[in-house]
């Protein structure tokens, strides 16, 4: 396999330069530099507090960086919002409404009216659009999948997923991986933050290792071939 750093398959679609994010005295990101190419599947790995979620939130335009630049499709994250799908660790859904009702609402925010689009999204994640149960009564796995359906509702070019497999049983997780693989094959760019990287071995194009607010390594395999200069061995399972 070729090294993706030297031979990119697609053009860079996301460029991050010198990104710093501080919450008071706590530093979440300390100078992140990276480019992500179109149509690739990235997995971001690292310990708790390594800055993965903060990076994803900054990319999605939810949090303004203290310093540094983010360019998505040549625009700022806010301006590129139509091309971004974001799935967070919390479900980002209203517990008291059914999945379909939720999606019909979020549909309006993207100015794409129509039940069919929502039904497609629900079916894409392997759920039943007829399900009238409120989301609050879903199982964790179903809720995660519905959350994914919300993120892909407007058919974005780029997907940011934060811990999509946490608390999901292995079977559902495998299904979701298959789904993501299909989307990658449909030329979507996908960034996944996860602790269960083993699930994505063979699916992901690249593993991005983060530690203490910086990207320390990028590898093609889950096993890190070499360590970054001055880096301690990662405590990743």
């Amino acid at each position: 396999m070729t090294n993706p750093l030297t031979a990119p398959r697609g053009a860079p679609i996301i460029a991050v330069s010198n990104l710093v994010k501080q919450f008071g005295r706590f530093t979440a990101l300390r100078g992140v530099n990276a480019e992500f190419d179109a149509g690739k599947f990235y997995v971001i790995l690292g310990d708790n507090g390594a800055g993965k979620t903060t990076l994803l939130r900054a990319l999605a335009g939810l949090t303004d960086p203290t310093r540094g630049e983010i360019s998505i499709l040549g625009k700022k994250p806010h301006e590129a919002s139509r091309d971004l799908g974001y799935m967070a660790h919390p479900s980002l859904l209203y517990d008291e409404m059914s999945g379909m009702e939720n999606l019909l609402y979020f549909d309006k925010l993207y100015d794409i009216a129509g039940n069919s689009r929502c039904e497609q999204a629900i079916q894409a994640v392997g759920l039943d659009a007829e399900l009238s149960r409120p989301v609050g009564k879903y199982s964790q796995g179903m809720r995660q999948r519905m959350s994914l359906a919300r993120a892909i509702l407007h058919d974005p070019k780029i997907l940011f997923l934060d811990e999509p497999f946490s608390n999901v049983d292995l079977h559902s997780a495998r299904e979701m991986v298959g789904l993501l693989k299909g989307m990658r094959d449909a030329e979507k760019t996908i960034l996944v933050v996860t602790h269960q990287a083993a699930l994505l071995e063979g699916t992901a194009d690249e593993f991005v290792w983060m530690q203490a607010g910086q990207i320390v390594d990028r590898t093609n395999h889950l096993a890190r071939g070499h360590l970054a200069p001055g880096d301690a061995p990662a405590g990743e399972p």
Binding site: T27, G31, D64, Q214, G230
Partner: protein, 305 residues
């Protein structure tokens, strides 16, 4: 710049002593109120100073918000110019002239608008980006101090003259109280904010507070005022010697306010630099990580003396 502060401090002290002497011994005794009227030499200048500071806070906040985008900054500039032109020309139009309250001259109204416009551009020239926010904190805090003095000396004056501490229908004291409340809530928001964008939130609140001022004034105005006629531009009943002393006193308090603002401004700048340095320190903390350490210069070199 460093040496200017003590020189100015000495001058201000002299001016304050002179104003004190003028207020207590030179100014004539009021025929109706007796000696106690001399409170106005502290009360009124403090009020004017507080209003000026709050106004600067408003301008700084508007500019801070407008500068977020070049387009809004440009729009704000043109709006201010338009207000300046209209305010300069309008008082001389006969129909508008008639509407002005007695004792208010068109030329003074026009000058006021000119000063307001000028202030916007002067502040915009000398304060950029975060400095605008520092200016806003400074003026709000010092303004609240002066406003507190107005609110304390007001009732002390009212008691012997009116026989009551506080007249709820009195327009100026009550609207000053509301103004004080608004700016205290502004300072509370700054203290309690959890956001990385406290400055923006505070600026928004400052704009809301400033929009509130005319509404406060009109709402109390209808209650009918118990206050004596305005001291300046209201009937001209004031002895010119009294006015003279009042203006000297205002000059003295303005200089004093300037000094206090200067110290507060420097304190805020320094503490932000310290915060930044602490943040940088935490940025560099885990040794061995290849970071931006070489490129980082501590910003404390200036402030540590």
């Amino acid at each position: 710049m460093k040496r200017a502060f003590p020189i100015l401090a000495v001058l201000t002290a002299l001016l304050l002593v002179y104003a004190f002497y003028q207020a207590l011994w030179v100014a004539p005794t009021d025929a109706l109120q007796g000696e106690v009227y001399r409170i106005i030499y502290y009360h009124v200048p403090s009020a004017w100073t507080a209003f000026l500071l709050f106004f600067i806070n408003f301008i700084a906040s508007v500019q801070y918000l407008a500068n977020a985008r070049p387009s809004t900054a440009r729009a704000a500039r043109w709006i201010v110019i338009a207000i300046g032109i209209i305010g300069f020309v309008a008082p001389f139009i006969p129909q508008v002239k008639q509407q002005l309250p007695t004792g208010m001259y068109p030329s003074s109204v026009a000058t006021t608008f000119l000063i307001i416009t000028g202030l916007y551009f002067v502040i915009g020239k000398y304060f950029v980006d975060q400095d605008l926010d520092v200016l806003a904190v400074t003026t709000a805090e010092v303004g609240v101090v002066f406003c507190s003095i107005v609110l304390v000396t007001g009732p002390i004056w009212a008691r012997p003259v009116w026989g009551i501490w506080w007249a709820p229908g009195d327009i100026r004291l009550t609207s000053t109280l509301v103004l004080w409340l608004i700016y205290v809530s502004y300072l509370v928001l700054r203290r309690f904010s959890d956001s990385a964008q406290t400055q923006k939130l505070a600026a928004v609140l400052a704009v809301f507070g400033a929009l509130d001022v005319p509404l406060v004034y009109f709402s109390i105005w209808f209650f009918r005022t118990q206050h004596p006629q305005p001291v300046i531009g209201g009937g001209g009943s004031m002895d010119p010697r009294m006015l003279h002393v009042l203006l000297i006193s205002w000059m003295a308090f303005l200089c004093f306010a300037f000094l206090v603002c200067w110290s507060r401004y420097r304190l805020e700048k320094l503490s932000r630099e310290v915060e930044e340095a602490e943040a940088l320190e935490s940025l560099l903390e885990p040794a061995g990580l290849a970071g931006p350490s070489s490129a980082v210069k501590t910003p404390l070199s200036r402030g540590s003396k």
